[in-house]
C-alpha cells in the first residue's frame, strides 16, 4: 500500500533531477530494491505504472535491480544470505544478526535522450 506513495516520491525525485539536467524525456529509470527493504518490487512496479501517467516518466521503462539480503552474525562473524529478518546464522544458528545488505531502496540512474 505504501508502494503508491513511494512511487509518487520517485516521480517527484526524477522530475527534480531531470529539471537540473534539463532533460524532458526519460527513457529508462533503474531502481534498486533490496529484499529486506520492506518494499514489494512487483507492487512497486505496478504502482509506478499508475502514478507515472501524465508525467515525464509515462513512457519510461522501469527497471528494477533486486539486491539479496546479507547478514553478519555477531556471534561467530559469519556473513550469510538472508531471505527474511528471521533467518538465523547457518553456521551457529544464532539470531544475533546485523543486516549488511538488502535494505536498499534507491533510484540508481536515469537514461534520457
Amino acid at each position: 500500500m505504501h508502494e503508491l506513495s513511494l512511487a509518487a516520491d520517485v516521480i517527484e525525485l526524477v522530475t527534480q533531477e531531470a529539471g537540473k539536467h534539463e532533460v524532458s524525456v526519460i527513457e529508462e529509470v533503474l531502481i534498486e530494491i533490496g529484499d529486506l527493504s520492506g518494499v514489494e518490487a512487483d507492487i512497486f512496479e505496478h504502482a509506478m505504472k499508475m502514478v507515472s501517467k501524465d508525467t515525464l516518466l509515462e513512457a519510461a521503462v522501469v527497471k528494477i535491480k533486486r539486491t539479496p539480503g546479507k547478514g553478519h552474525c555477531n556471534f561467530c562473524n559469519n556473513d550469510f544470505e538472508m531471505k527474511s529478518f528471521f533467518d538465523q546464522c547457518p553456521n551457529c544458528q544464532h539470531f544475533t544478526t546485523e543486516i549488511l545488505e538488502g535494505r536498499e531502496f534507491r533510484v540508481v540512474s536515469l537514461v534520457t535522450s
Binding site: 505504501h2 525525485l13 529478518f85
Partner: protein, 273 residues
Amino acid sequence: MCETCGCGNPDEVNIHGPGHHHDHEHDHHHDHEHEQAHVHEHEHEHDGHWHSHSHEHKPKKVIDLNQDILTENNRLAEWNRGYFEGKKVICFNLVSSPGSGKTTILEKTIRELIPSRKIFVIEGDQQTSKDADRIEKAGAPSVQINTGSGCHLDARMVHSALHKMEIENNSILFIENVGNLVCPALFDLGEKKRVLVISVTEGDDKPEKYPYMFRSANLCLINKTDLLPYVDFDIETVMNSAKQLNPDLEFIRVSAKSGEGMDKWYEWLGKQG
C-alpha cells in the same frame, strides 16, 4: 513558505483541530486525494556522462543518481528530531493495528500525567477527528491529520502539524499513527522512541507476520491483559519471536481498561527524559 524551516507547500493533507465534522448528504461524495508533493533539496552533485551509440540517431545520456528514495522523508524526520531536541520535547510514535487500544492508553496516560507534565498529541487517521476529540476531552491539546486514502503518517505531515501547534518546551508529544502494522514501519517521523501496541486479542503470531514493524520498535505494549483468561494468547511466544528480530525490544504488559501495568508504562515514560 515556512520561514523558520523553509518547507514550502500548502497542506494537501487535511490537518485540523478536533471537532471537524463532514456533512454526509446523499449526493455529496467526499474524496480526499492522497497527494504528496515533495520538495527535494539535493546538496550533492551528480555526474552525468554521455554515451554515444553509433546505431542510434541521438546520443543517450545516463544520469547516475544513487538517491535513496526515503531521503526526503528522513531529512524532514531529522529536522523534526532537531526541533524536539532543541525544545526538550520527548516525542513518541505510537503504532499498531486498528483497535489495539492506542487511544485509550493515551487517554489514561494524559489524565495521569497532566498534573505534572505538559502533553501534546498529533492524531493520524484516514478520516474523522474522533480520536482528537477524545484526546481533547482527556485534557491534552491535539491536532488531527486526516490522510484521506493514505495509510501512514510521514515526516512531512508531522512537520506540517507542528506548524499548527504551539508545543511547549519540556513537554511530551505523542504521535498516534494510522492503525496499520505494515506501512508506518518504513517512515521515520523524528520520534525519540517508537512504541508498538499489540493486544492479546490479535493472536500471538504478529512478530512473524509483521517483522518490519517489530524490528523498528523500541517498546512493545501488550494491551488488554484483562482479557487473557478468554483468549488463546501466549505472551512468551510473542516475546521470544519478537526478540529474535529485535533483541533490544522492551515489553510492558498493560490493561488500559483495568489499569494493570500502567504504572510500569508511566515509569518507562519518565525514564525517557
